[in-house]
Symmetry: C2
Subunit: 211 residues, 2 copies
């Protein structure tokens, strides 16, 4: 458990940086392919005209996601873990100097696609936001409970696929809420745009509080 | 790297057990919710009348998957890692005494849903089989290359969803094959049954070789 204790200390160090500069920080987590980058692209299109947003992309290899985000004209850094299945506070800390935190309102950190380990490594974020795609199945809160327990928000994505999969929204929401009474659940589709307005409003409320 | 060296030794120990009893062993891996258990249920329905099949289910928590497999009337054991994001040879070894390997032709080990770490931990299996759902996106071979590199077979699942997602089958197959020239790719749907025959025949061929 030494690893987690070291990580915790560095996460609090990162958090102090963010608080000193009034930056709201999001740790975006999900299984691979749930739609983190797609939802981030939609969110940037909506909010980057009114807020100064930076992005840190975390992946094992490659810069596919950073290339997608760069097209939105916001500062983005790609971290490659080279094998680790999650980001940690150390990897994030090393990239902070590449941003001018005085010029940011929001920093979004997209974590490595993994429903297990990212939940245990605090990065210094303000909020953890997780994405669950309806294509993954409604048993995930029961099978991967820690992520649902630590998240502030659950974006239930790809609801456009509901007619084609057997996903019980009420069951998944009930099971997730049983793990976390404070969890806000937003059914959305990054493809059609359905349900995104309440998510944008929630996010703006959190950004305002961080000021 | 000490952890991997110890694991390797125990994996070879497991493999010796399996070879001595002529059991063909599969390590089934994917991201969470790609369809491992659904494909296993289809495969059991087809093959368990002709082969003696046992199953080890690996999850962080819960026994949802073992409960689904039990309904197919085959011996199944549920391993809970309690936090680890992958199975290892030690966890598997501890469960082998719960099976009579002389009474088995096939042992399927369904790994924890994770596209990263399971690829690095040999369990003593004969073949690694991975599942990629078309709902996850066609960039996964580039972003999570190790799993595609070590797999013997790629089951490209949920092809019934192709009309509703932007997944380029040719690109994903090309990128996966660039990582692994020997990779057999089977486009399938566990829901409709489409494409499963070639997978069943491939499996029967491998079982026969293990005898
Ligand atoms: N039908 C549908 N497809 C979606 C939706 N959101 C994302 N996708 C698709 O899902 C796939 C994965 O989307 P990404 O945004 O790359 O997912 P991700 O979580 O960032 O993936 P990783 O970073 O690799 O873990 C892509 O093919 C997207 O087009 C949605 O709301 N509906
Ligand atoms: N449309 C469609 N849905 C599928 C298909 N195969 C599985 N599913 C659905 O995908 C979800 C997940 O399936 P599972 O078989 O539980 O996936 P898994 O890989 O075993 O999941 P974990 O063990 O939790 O990692 C469920 O809702 C299934 O009904 C398919 O071929 N097409
Ligand atoms: Mg992404
Ligand atoms: Mg399963
Ligand atoms: Zn991990
Ligand atoms: Zn792991």
């Amino acid at each position: 458990h030494e690893i987690l204790a070291d990580n915790e200390a560095l996460a609090n160090h990162n958090r102090a940086h963010f608080l000193a500069h009034g930056v709201y920080v999001l740790n975006l987590m999900s299984a691979p392919g749930a739609g983190k980058t797609s939802l981030l692209e939609r969110t940037l299109a909506e909010l980057s005209p009114r807020y100064r947003i930076g992005v840190i992309e975390g992946d094992v290899y490659g810069r596919e996601d950073a290339d997608r985000i760069e097209k939105h004209g916001v500062p983005v850094v790609q971290i490659n873990t080279g094998g680790a299945c999650h980001l940690d506070a150390h990897l994030v800390h090393d990239q902070l100097e590449r941003f001018d935190l005085d010029q940011l309102d929001v920093l979004v950190i997209e974590n490595v696609g993994n429903l297990v380990c990212p939940a245990e490594f605090d990065l210094g974020e303000t909020d953890k936001v997780m994405v669950l795609s309806v294509a993954e199945g409604d048993d995930k809160p029961k099978k991967y409970p820690v992520m649902f327990h630590v998240a502030r928000v659950l974006l239930l994505n790809k609801i456009d696929l509901l007619p084609h999969v057997s996903f019980d929204v009420a069951r998944a929401t009930r099971d997730a809420r049983a793990l976390n009474l404070d969890l806000d659940v937003f059914p959305v589709s990054a493809t059609t745009g359905e349900g995104l307005e309440p998510w944008y409003r929630w996010l703006e409320g959190r950004i305002a509080r961080a000021k």
